[in-house]
Subunit: 278 residues, 2 copies
Amino acid sequence: MELWFEESTPEGWGLKVRLERTLESVQSQFQRIDLYQTSGMGKLLVIDGKVQLCELDEFTYHEMLAHVPLLCHPAPRRVMVVGGGDGGTVREVLAHPSVERAVLVEIDPEVVRVCREHLPTVSGRLSDPRVEIVAADAAEYMRTARDFDAIVVDSSDPVGPSEVLFSGEFYSDLRQALTPQGVMAMQSGSPFFYLDQIVGAVRGLKEQFRHVRPLIVPVPTYPSGTWSLVAASLGEDLGLGVEELVRRYRERGLRTRWYSPQMHLASLALPPFLEQAL
Amino acid sequence: MELWFEESTPEGWGLKVRLERTLESVQSQFQRIDLYQTSGMGKLLVIDGKVQLCELDEFTYHEMLAHVPLLCHPAPRRVMVVGGGDGGTVREVLAHPSVERAVLVEIDPEVVRVCREHLPTVSGRLSDPRVEIVAADAAEYMRTARDFDAIVVDSSDPVGPSEVLFSGEFYSDLRQALTPQGVMAMQSGSPFFYLDQIVGAVRGLKEQFRHVRPLIVPVPTYPSGTWSLVAASLGEDLGLGVEELVRRYRERGLRTRWYSPQMHLASLALPPFLEQAL
């Protein structure tokens, strides 16, 4: 008998992943957390029935979410990661040598524990001495946070507890928490299924930021297989020249599988149907 | 009770699409053809259990497959489409006003019949007087074909009848069938699952063509949700300057939802893991 994980959208698109076995299944104070060993795609983290990451493809999402904003800052020192208790975004953030402090604000310590135990390829850098893990509600934490050079919002979708992370009030608090050259990025759903979500995020961020750019990244295990992020900056343009991006990429000694300065700029190109919606 | 179409890969990634009903299910001389009405994604064409197209997302694939090569030819007049009996690629080819003749070489007339009957949004332009439909084996047809300005290979995957369309001999015949400024494009599988297929196509085409470029396009209903194409040209560079592409795009009066001159160039950017494999 074969065991498959299944997730589907209201539009009737569904994902299946063949499993070998369940590594952990726990109900935390906040949500249901399942960690599976798949049969051909590495390990799979699922929260409340929705794929959070799969070892096969997590690099596309984490690399773009962290490196697009961080490379548009000349020398990010203090970085906040909202959500992302799996540690994948923190791993990419720490690859920038200028980073002195990475504060992970994750409401659910159980996510961190499960990923530390079972997902070392993703969570391994959480033990870096530069990392501080804060178990707090990110919306509350953001109200009084200050002096961050970059904030990366690696949240779940805007339903339930994460809904507030897609509000105008949160965007305003986030901007207040940034330094004058500050940058940010957030996930904003599938361009094929959740166009409204991208449009909403871009509009909300434009009220706070000088530069706001949506970008597209493939994630085979997210609904529709293609995801969008929105990046915003108070200082530098997000479509920085390719020469400067290449210089910074090399100077920082980054090693990536999906991100490159060319992919950074390519991901900012938008298909006409999305441009029109914006 | 809900009815779902399901397709999965050997790696254990699977796609599900919720169905309303079966519109047609027929065994032709060559293959099994199923046409479904989905509940939220339009109609779905399946051949031998594999998704060929879905109305939700067919535009990304058909637009890139046709417009990337055709816009790298100054004035394509005679165009061949290999496979693609659904008519989606022909629809995009005919949008170029210089096209005088579009020859569709589809081995299975049943695919054409089913799509004409049930998929007018895709097959509608097959009745254009410039279209000639040839029911033939494309590998055989290619051996004596001559004087095509562009050839678009819209084949199924390289297993069974389509395997020969991914061979060195076919690439050589294809080049012989092209005019001196000739261009071509073909599909080459998922970069996440079938890296060998892209590498093989690029190597094979490089023996015949001056310019060979793989490109990436999201297709939510294909395995992994992201697909690759390879384009090749005997004349112009496939990464033509953006100004020239914009000029041609406007001059030809194209209207597209995924393709744009900027998306054309963006799709040529390759992630490091794919660059290294090449």
